[in-house]
């Protein structure tokens, strides 16, 4: 044995190599074709760079080349999970520019379908969030229920996913005769499944461990990043355009704005963002029930309009509360039958931009959960 070698190092000298990992565009939990460039120190995320645009379908270019009613199908394809909600701000904007009011019955049907689609969207959001956590079974339970909602949409509009149902000045068709019974039945069904999901997934100990105190988004950061919808409300910010800037007939209904309260962790963590969606399903059910009671049975579903819709010169920013947050359309008209410019303010686009901010310092597995809790749809991010 030789003499003992003196070992002289400090902890700070033990450098480890950082690893750059490409997550996506094909990855099971990027919810589409998002690509994240992640820098990992061991398993700890030190930097996230989102690369988007893998689904850039030139929505705004198409709008400039289509007439006003022809834009609606493209609007559908922006956020393809909740098409009805997408159509609403667009047609409201065009109607406002034209200066027309739609019949009472149309407003009610629009609200009912928007809220129904909100339920369907939140069900997908909770389902895929559970899937990210590894719970496959709740995913299928929620999809089972969503299928019944889609059946109602199909009866009304003929489409399962993309509807083209809200038209400028009214609706494409009147609703089917059994509309009210169908919706009452589905509302009951949704409430039952909600209970099941709460037991199976949301209050599961492992699920709480995974999501509580992860990806905390403070309210002021949420405002500065322009977050809206459940992402902002999860941070305790009661920002809901249905209450703050009432459009359509939302001021006639009694419902609560659900905010995150930090029930199991900190206000603004992943669990809060998810539970806001869960409770919003219940609030939507309340709105639908009230709307069904108030809705007039008789009435026209189409306002008389000229064959070619030519809004006067001007511009408008029409916004509505999408399930994912504030969806706005900035429509510029030049007096012709095709819009000069339509800019869609993609909710997911803005919400996703907060991801690098809130995912630093968490584990790689948490990054997936944070991304799932933001609930993005790439069609809207990339348009």
């Amino acid at each position: 044995m030789g003499e003992l070698k003196k070992v002289d190092f400090e902890y700070s000298q033990l450098n480890s190599e950082r690893m750059r990992l490409n997550v996506g565009p094909q990855h099971p939990s990027t919810h589409g074709v998002l690509r994240l460039e992640v820098e990992l120190d061991g398993e700890i995320v030190t930097e996230v760079v989102p690369h988007i645009g893998y689904l850039h379908r030139c929505f705004e270019k198409h709008c400039e080349n289509m007439t006003y009613p022809q834009v609606i199908p493209y609007v559908d394809r922006m956020d393809y999970i909740c098409s009805m909600n997408n159509e609403l701000p667009y047609v409201m904007g065009v109607e406002k520019m034209l200066g027309i009011e739609v019949p009472e019955k149309v407003e009610y049907i629009r609200v009912i379908f928007s809220e129904l689609n909100r339920i369907a969207n939140h069900q997908i959001a909770i389902a895929t969030f559970g899937l990210d956590a590894g719970a496959f079974t709740p995913f299928l339970y929620l999809f089972r229920d969503r299928e019944f909602i889609l059946t109602i949409f199909e009866k009304a509009s003929g489409g399962r996913l993309l509807y083209n149902y809200f038209w400028v000045g009214g609706l494409a068709h009147d609703v089917h005769p059994t509309f009210k019974e169908d919706i009452r039945w589905i509302v009951k069904r949704v409430k039952e499944t909600n209970k099941e999901i709460a037991d199976l997934l949301l209050y599961n100990k492992i699920f709480i461990e995974r999501t509580a105190n992860v990806g905390i988004l403070p309210a002021d950061v949420a405002i500065n990043y322009g977050c809206s919808g459940p992402v902002a409300r999860g941070s305790g910010l009661p920002f809901d355009l249905r209450k703050d800037a009432p459009y359509s007939i939302y001021d006639r209904f009694d419902f609560n704005v659900v905010t995150g309260r930090g029930e199991v962790g900190t206000v603004g963590d992943c669990w809060d963002r998810n539970i806001v969606r869960f409770h919003e399903i219940e609030e939507s059910c309340r709105i639908i029930e009230q709307a069904l009671e108030q809705m007039p049975d008789e009435g026209d579903v189409r306002e008389k309009l000229p064959k070619k819709i030519r809004p006067p010169q001007g511009e408008i920013y029409s916004k509505a509360e999408n399930p994912k947050g504030e969806l706005g359309f900035y429509i510029v008209s030049n007096g012709k039958d095709k819009p000069e410019r339509v800019k869609g303010r993609g909710t997911s686009f803005v919400n996703l931009s907060v991801l690098p901010e809130i995912s630093k310092g968490y584990l790689f597995a948490d990054l997936i959960m944070i991304l799932g809790s933001i609930d993005i749809v790439l069609g809207e991010v990339d348009r």
């Binding site: 645009g53 200066g99 950061v221 800037a245 408008i316 706005g328 800019k343």
Partner: protein, 158 residues
């Protein structure tokens, strides 16, 4: 607070930098602003006690034939009022000060406006293309844009 009051207050503070207020219902009223002092104006709008426009709803580029425009839709979480700012720059020299430091959400919005219209935001920390590939040529949403024949050996037109 209605638009006229906001306009008066801005005019009082910034003088010539505020060009005009346009109101023509049913269109949204907007305030035309000079690009030079945009950052100061935005900071003032965000922090002034009775305005508090802390939420940038939307930022969109515009192609106005000869010029390029940038439109800002602001919203106040506290007072729940809105205002629209508009900036116009020439196509030859499309420089607009970046408001990324004021509202972080403007980061991606500005990158998008750069990507699609070619508006250059001065002071933006990372002004690269966001939707189109990084080696894409041209600014697709300009009215005179022509679809390329080929991209990386793949035929683009139908």
């Amino acid at each position: 607070m209605i638009e006229q009051e906001i306009y008066n207050k801005l005019k009082e503070h910034f003088g010539d930098a505020i060009v005009e207020l346009k109101e023509a219902p049913p269109s949204d009223p907007f305030i035309q602003v000079n690009p030079e002092r945009l950052q100061d104006i935005c900071l003032y709008l965000r922090d002034e006690g009775d305005m508090l426009f802390d939420y940038l709803s939307n930022l969109s580029g515009m192609d106005l034939a000869e010029n390029l425009g940038v439109v800002y839709h602001l919203y106040s979480m506290k007072y729940k009022h809105t205002i629209v700012l508009k900036v116009t720059v020439s196509k030859e020299n499309p420089n607009v000060p970046s408001v990324e430091r004021i509202w972080r959400t403007a980061d991606w919005h500005e990158r998008e406006a750069y990507d699609l219209f070619g508006v250059i935001f001065e002071g933006h920390h990372n002004l690269i293309r966001i939707l189109n590939p990084y080696d894409w040529e041209g600014y697709p949403l300009r009215k005179d844009y022509k679809t390329p024949e080929e991209y990386h050996g793949i035929k683009v037109p139908y």
